[in-house]
Amino acid sequence: MLAAAYNYRWDVVAANVDGLVSGLVVTLRLTAVGMGIALVVGLVVAVLRLSRSPLLRLPALGYIELLRGVPLFVFLFLVYYGLAQAFGLVLSPFAAGAVALGLTGSAYMAEIYRGALSAVGGGQREAALAMGLTPLQAFRDVTLPQALRVAVPPGMNLLIALLKGATLVSVIGISDMFYLARVVSLANFTPFEMYTVAGFAIVAVTVALAGLAFLLERRMARVDREA
């Protein structure tokens, strides 16, 4: 059997546990920063998208469609290699990854916010205005808190998607698990061992996040049912 020719070297994995762990931490940090950008920028874009003025609404719509239509992989290269060449804007791989991930995420997050804001009935805003709250107060104290709750489950899905997207950033040389796997495998010829461990690590994290999302959603559904 051909497979017998492959010499399994799990000791190489063991020797690189520290590197794999810190690589995973890099991916998680990148995901967190990207999600942070997506949450903030996405809200601004969503509010513009819901504006009655076409001057605000149309650019927001364009932003959303553009960033959702371009693959993250392409956008990442554009940010990392393209900006440096065209505008002399040299970003670190981490920064380029965070920007690409965060902006792409913000387009999806904007749509999540938009759906959530529309899901809060107009009666809520009216009741707030009727008692004398300013439109800004009505948004901040009444509409937004309710919308955020609606946005949690799809937001968790986006977080998982961004984590998967963050693994891509190793192609521009960020020192995550996959970068390490490539380097170590070249030196020791252990691609199977290294990629298997790195792959299972990612699956473990995303499945855990998905489980958390499931529990969260079920808890919120129960609260709603008790209404």
Binding site: L2, G69, P71, L83, Y108, K164, F178
Partner: protein
Amino acid sequence: MAPLDFRPVWQNLGVLLAGARLGATVAVAGFGLAIVAGLIIALLRRSRIAPLRWLAFAYVQFFRGIALYVLILWLYFGIAVAAGITLGALTAGILTLALLNSAYLAEVFRSGIEAVDRGQREAALAMGLTPRQAFRDVVAPQALRVVVPATGNHFVDAIKDSAILSVIAVPELMRQATSLAQVTARPFEFYTAAAVLYLVVVVCVSSGLRWLERRLDYTRGLPWSRGTAVADTTPTH
């Protein structure tokens, strides 16, 4: 910092377009396999035999949990090498897209079947339709309306995901853009061109899908068909 120059892009447009065509072909092939596999997994998820259900569940969880980039490295550089299989880049790319999307589609199909009220099938059988007819004329059209939008979203994601196949040197659009960007030292121009081409394909496919959704929507024009729930379009890959 040299001024932007898009002439190299125009000169190589043919190569880029050929890459786009190959990428689309790979996406269609992978997605076609995924539809078949996804249907099977969805049925296994509802099987009466518990171990089959568990197996299908594990399959779905695993492939929904893994990133395409991770899976492709693992499959192409890890598993194939360890197993001593010579896997062509194109085959590996199609296989990866198929595995990943089959897991997503299995969930889509399952929820589509479950979305149709049990009473619908019973009513159809009660009026004398055969189980086959009940499925084809009553259950399927209703399930399809639920399934098509989500399936379409995954197909669009699959097209965008085909860009990642460039890491194993499948000569699709992104791979061609990368080599040309290096050769001409014009990454901004070539990656912009790639972005525009992907955008064009995605917008065309999305509009086609929206047309299809409208055609399948038998509630179209009925007063209560407006303002239905917002589809979750979050990327899942």
